[in-house]
Point group: C2
């Protein structure tokens, strides 16, 4: 492999000049630049990442911690990942992928200066990783919200507002008894940030809108979804509005309703909280609150990069939920009243 000295020699300049044409950190005359660039080209020169990291304290790599926990929806995770990876490239950064949720990986990559910054997904209310990244010398942003986001940078859909919005939508359409078919029990047991926030918004708005809301955890399997639907309708047969916050279960929930001869969009209004493509891929186009996963991934990178060079303070950004009416929701029993 050619080194910077080889290039310098070939171009008849010093190594520092080569370095500067590469970094653009000082003006270079046109002819010099041309000679250097030609030499680089000719030798197929690539700066050595390690040497660069050592000299500049910059690796041009960010860590992405995407724990693949049981109960998470893999395609949605990958939408976040895609957003992060593509946006990172825009900043000339690569992505080191950590999938284990243990804490040693964090130590290794931060302490060893393997990365310039971190993005962490799947945050739990009281996440053991949070104090660690807060103490790291690298900036980080969390996708999700810990119990106490003080001093941290976070970004996510505003799930609490999404919960409110979903209930408000159903209530306004005349549904007095609504229900949530939510995340798998494992996800709830871990106090995963997004699940809890959605439920909080849901309950608050139910109180405010004077509707009842029943909450049902839901495994993502066909049988899990069937059970959730059956339990729900046994306990609250008057339910006319369902909010589904579980991408994996969504198709099976719809199947079960169909099996029970409940027509979605007529007998039952269903609002999904999920990525747009998931909402559109169901048997009927779903009224949904979009989870812009790829966007969120992108924003996470923007934020972490801003903190990396500017002296931007930490901030938490909650994206406002947007509800799009499609064919799965309709006016309910009380429509036209009052």
């Amino acid at each position: 492999m050619a080194t910077i000295d080889d290039v310098a020699k070939a171009a008849g300049v010093s190594a520092s000049t080569v370095s500067y044409v590469l970094s653009g950190k000082r003006p270079i005359s046109a002819p010099t630049r041309a000679r250097v660039e030609r030499a680089i080209e000719k030798l197929g020169y690539r700066p050595h990442a390690g040497a660069r990291a050592l000299a500049s304290a910059r690796t041009n790599v960010i860590a992405l911690m995407a724990p693949l926990r049981v109960g998470v929806n893999v395609p949605v995770i990958m939408q976040f990942v895609t957003g992060v990876v593509t946006r990172a490239r825009d900043f000339d950064h690569d992505v080191l992928l950590l999938t284990q949720d243990d804490v040693s990986g964090l130590d290794r990559v931060t302490g060893g200066s393997m990365v310039d910054a971190l993005v962490m997904m799947d945050i739990e209310a009281d996440d053991p990783r949070v104090p660690l990244v807060a103490a790291a010398k690298q900036p980080s942003v969390l996708i999700g919200l810990p119990e106490d986001p003080e001093g941290l940078s976070c970004v996510d859909l505003d799930f609490e507002a999404a919960g409110r919005l979903a209930v408000r939508h159903l209530a306004a359409a005349g549904h007095a008894d609504v229900a949530l078919v939510g995340s798998p029990p494992e996800v709830l047991r871990r106090h995963t940030s997004y699940a809890e926030r959605l439920m909080r918004g849901l309950r608050n708005q139910a109180r405010a809108s004077d509707v009842t809301v029943r909450v049902e955890a839901c495994d993502s399997s066909p049988s899990g979804a069937s059970e959730a639907v059956d339990t729900l309708l046994a306990a609250a047969p008057g339910t006319t509005g369902i909010i589904v916050h579980n991408e994996g279960a969504l198709p099976h929930v719809l199947s079960r309703l169909a099996e029970r001869d409940i027509v979605v969009g007529e007998d039952m209004s269903v609002v999904a909280v999920c990525p747009r493509d998931v909402a559109l891929a169901q048997r009927i186009p779903m009224t949904s609150i979009d989870l812009p996963a790829e966007d969120i991934g992108r924003v996470a990178v923007d934020m972490v990069m801003a903190r990396l060079d500017g002296e931007h303070p930490s901030e938490t950004r909650l994206l406002a939920p947007v509800l799009t009416e499609r064919e799965s929701s309709a006016p309910g029993p009380a429509a036209g009243d009052g």
Copy 2:
């Protein structure tokens, strides 16, 4: 951050001694080792990855190129990824994730010595990345098979054998007219390695077993699956055996058959080629040829690590397919004959 010199000073030894207790590359007396370890502990010392890479020409990072192309099944991809990442950790390596299928990423990470080795997924028959990695100084292994695997290390399920096995199974059960519901058209258009190999095996065995085989590309959407099934049965109404090689479409294929009052496991035998968990998650447990994605990811890492330190030659490893009979296949029209 503490450096190796800080540790050396604190332990009253030289820096090289610290280096050697860390690497184990030469014997250290018990008391010295103890002092060094205590100093490391006390100072929270972590070797600087860049410095290490520079001095040792080893990064302890491998690149994983997992292009997220249209038509690929994301959860299956993630099974490969999981296998690679977890196995890499066993070798004390981290994983740099490249998702773009362009070729510049390869250049960057190999030329810049960012990684010790590469694993590449989703290989196409005539893949432009292949000549590049073949020329790189780092060893690489492909998950999948290019046109000409000469001199490369490859690992995959033996899809050609899988195709043969599936047909042989159906033929032996007395099915004379079988069909493939295959990958999405985009995947075929790219001449993706696994799709083509399965089809080759299929056709060869059909000839050998004297059964007819019809091939239908299949979009992974519900409508795509319905269309494929309908087209298939219109063109070849006598079909009694279907091989499905498309995880995303599988549930929809089964739904469509159900809609048409075709009872899988009685009127129609279906053999799936997919990961075990996918086969078991269907409406009935599927007779399937297992795609051991996570295993393959692990083996890929084993192979690349073997090439990294030993002087193992390149090899291609095709895992023998295993068919497990479950409830979706049964004897066909000609059963008991001959």
